[in-house]
Symmetry: C2
Amino acid sequence: MKRVFGVAISGNCYKVRLALEQLRLPYEWVEVDMMNDGTHTPEFLAMNPNAKVPVLEIEPGKWLPESDAILYYLAEGTALLPAERFARAQVLQWMFFEQYSHEPYIAVARFIVKFLEPTHPRRAELPRLRERGHQALAVMESHLGTRTFFVGNRYSIADIALYAYTHAAPEAGFDMTPYPAVRSWLKRVEASPGFVPMAGTA
Amino acid sequence: MKRVFGVAISGNCYKVRLALEQLRLPYEWVEVDMMNDGTHTPEFLAMNPNAKVPVLEIEPGKWLPESDAILYYLAEGTALLPAERFARAQVLQWMFFEQYSHEPYIAVARFIVKFLEPTHPRRAELPRLRERGHQALAVMESHLGTRTFFVGNRYSIADIALYAYTHAAPEAGFDMTPYPAVRSWLKRVEASPGFVPMAGTA
């Protein structure tokens, strides 16, 4: 059986769980102990020398890191990934957008607000993180203004990738009022078959 | 004919040019005028609402942003992308590594060193960027210690994606002495058929 090495409260790990649930694939979840530096043990570094969760164990010795690469691997040949070449590339476009222009701002702001002390010096990063996060949300709003889902008006792993930290943006202090199309899309994702919420979110 | 909207001195744009050259695909290069905010014109934003180069125009009206999504699109069905599902996911793994753990440090440090005034306040970011950049180079060194190329010991778009800013890391002030496996791999990439150098690099 496939195993996921992850952290339940991480949006990047939640993506993998959501895809596995929606694809009705059996899996075992192995919670990594972040309090004790669980991604820097020799066993973990053998799976991912970049010391990050999630890692998908396809079989013992066959490991795949990087949440969006895992999504692509799981979704190939299923309804969660279009068969047509250009549409598949557009799914990747939005997943690279997520990892480069969205997650480094919204997820990092959420981490600082939710998991660090209110007096932590990293709070100084929040204005810049929120500015860039709003830029990403504005790009999504513009795209979703005329579409139901990110690619081909069909639910795909591009939506899963972007849902993970977008729905958690209020936890990072983002006001979602200016993004009605994004808010409608969040509801459509939540209504998709087999949807499960992220651990620890309201 | 395909068109690339790009900036010659950008590593992300160079990736696309290198792949097109190595695949011997005809294309037209459209240099975007960054001095006059050329990614924020209405015409450019219609191609990429995220206002970034490169964009591949497959045909008029059919545009694909995000360098690594473009690489995947171009390489499908060619020798630059493995046919096997897990190997293809590993190619994506390294491309997501590149965009999340490598480019934001090495490319940004290069930009600050190479294109901003020596007294620019952003130079204060360099120590942290270099620390993170060295972490990425160390991950690459560990992986390449026992391999010729990133995935399956065969040259692929994962190598193209990582070559672009790794070979330019010295311009960002990175000392490459601790990375002999990376240096050998750079030479193997440069010896691959159809290789062309990046504009403006020594």
